[in-house]
Subunit: 330 residues, 2 copies
């Protein structure tokens, strides 16, 4: 059934039975109060305090929609975790410290309160792990189940890491392994908040993005913003075990290149610093970090270098929310 979560979570009172005021009262009770939150859930807006001037604010939004970002019958806590995780991953990709999250829920009136509470519990757990607080949101009735989240983070003035700073010669790195998130990783990933903050503070990356639409497409975003090309060594791509397990006729490497929702960090480091960077990374994190290629000058494109040394030029698209095409031109 559309607009529903896993079976055991859809018993108990529905949103229609409780009414909006009682639903909000119960959700707010579960969230508690936090330092820096002057007015939390239950007024026209949340009022928060950013303790320290010298910072820029980082604002991001994301959506998690039934049938697109999760299947009907998914666990509601996992869906909440996914929404907050996506927001945290966006902040991580800017090198920002997470502060506050708001969440709009649009759901059928027959949705059980228990399921909604689990959505919030899932959001709260992952947010709290990275120091962020849920401070508000909006509830609406709808036929489809949509979660729309909004997050605020901060970075020291003009220190946000954007997509537009990559330069010819920079080394291209990616954290973790890629591909096959459809097997469950898209609900269980850890947003790379700690790594993003460390990268920004230590000043290594010239450009950064999180891998949400697929490696080729997200690299394409960096290249478009930075107006350059990239050469990627296919044998270096860190293919995940999930990508190898899929066995759907698409090669594990193609999954690693094109699947979305790994939420790893993809970033560039100036050529002269690349070796020093990778030593410093290994001293700090156990998480894998792989050099997969190099930024080149020239029109926006990705050159895939095969083991034998042959090159194919790809105008990679990965996941397009509207067309779902994966494009390859000769």
């Amino acid at each position: 059934m559309s607009g529903s979560f896993r079976g055991e979570e859809v018993t108990g009172e529905t949103l229609r039975q409780l009414g909006e005021i009682e639903v909000i009262r119960r959700l707010a009770r579960g969230l508690g109060q936090a330092v820096n939150v002057l007015v939390g859930i239950g007024d026209d807006a949340a009022v928060v305090r950013s303790e320290d001037d010298g910072h820029d604010l980082v604002l991001t939004t994301d959506a998690v929609i039934e049938g697109i970002h999760f299947a009907a019958g998914a666990r509601s806590a996992a869906v909440g975790r996914k929404l907050a995780g996506r927001l945290l991953s966006d902040l991580a990709a800017m090198g920002a410290e997470p502060l506050w999250i708001l969440c709009n829920v649009a759901a059928p009136a027959r949705t059980s309160f228990r399921a909604l509470k689990q959505v919030y519990a899932g959001m709260k757990r992952i947010a709290a792990r990275f120091g962020a607080h849920i401070v508000g949101g909006d509830l609406s009735r709808a036929d489809e189940l949509h979660l729309h989240g909004f997050a605020v983070g901060r970075v020291p003035h003009r220190r946000a890491v954007t997509r537009s700073g990559a330069r010819a010669g920079d080394a291209v790195f990616v954290t973790g392994t890629l591909g096959g998130s459809i097997l469950g990783g898209h609900l269980r990933f850890t947003p790379r908040v700690k790594e993003g903050l460390w990268l920004r503070k230590s000043g290594w990356p010239s450009a950064m993005i999180d891998v949400s639409d697929g490696l080729l497409r997200d690299l394409g975003h960096i290249l478009r913003s930075s107006r350059c090309a990239a050469e990627i060594e296919l044998r270096k791509i860190p293919v995940s075990s999930a990508a190898r397990m899929l066995g759907d006729g698409v090669s594990p490497l193609d999954h690693a290149l094109r699947d979305g929702e790994d939420f790893e960090l993809l970033f560039t480091v100036p050529a002269g610093k690349a070796e020093q960077f990778i030593r410093s990374w290994k001293d700090t994190f156990r998480l894998r970090c792989t050099r997969i290629g190099t930024i080149r000058s020239g029109p926006v494109s990705i050159n895939l270098k095969e083991a034998g040394g042959s090159l194919s030029r790809i105008y990679g698209l990965g996941y397009d929310h509207f067309s779902c095409r994966v494009g390859k031109r000769p």
Copy 2:
């Protein structure tokens, strides 16, 4: 058809035909750049600068959903205006200065780009009128058409006007006229940003809310937060001409008491200041502002005083997003 705007706006290229990257590029071009926006649409997140420390941030969210907040076939610019207007109205009700707006659009892939552009144009016009900038958002595919907006404003530290400050004896005021927004006011209203800022700066209101769910229900929100009762004089209610035009068997007064989406400001002013306040208001604004009653001590309830002097006690609910009940107990 579900997921559609007015006919003349649904010609031209669809979101599926253009693809997400081109859609975002074109939308960003239409929005321009603003002071205080370091990174706008097109990166992982927006980066903004709040110029001045001594302020708290005010964060709010709202949704505009086809079939709930607007009918299929509505003008797309009016729908965008409504979303931004709702957000600005929330900020107004806190006495906050609007700064930044982000908007998530979830739409069918067959949606025309022209319609989406008009949604953004509608948002931009009303936002610009009150000094706010559209700085980001997210596009997703969905079967239902949903807009989810997020806004950031600011108030001097601890000066936000909440719902919880009403005290026995305070006078209850409402701006403008009420009822019948279904005839078009719900798409055309002016958010009371200037009035909300003036009220906060001059320090009159002890509590404030915007009338989105209906007068009785929104007054109920103030009473629940402030833990008190109210006495309302029915002959004082400013009934709108739209409420009088409806002619649907419900009295114009009942429309004024219970209809939602007028987006006027409802607020309380301490008893000793009420006369001075209304003189000061009349010196400043042409907009009507009416004293409709008085806050009383006692359990949360609204006593409606009829012209003859008889009282009826109402536990008014107005619009509930999930149950749509209007409750009246003897």
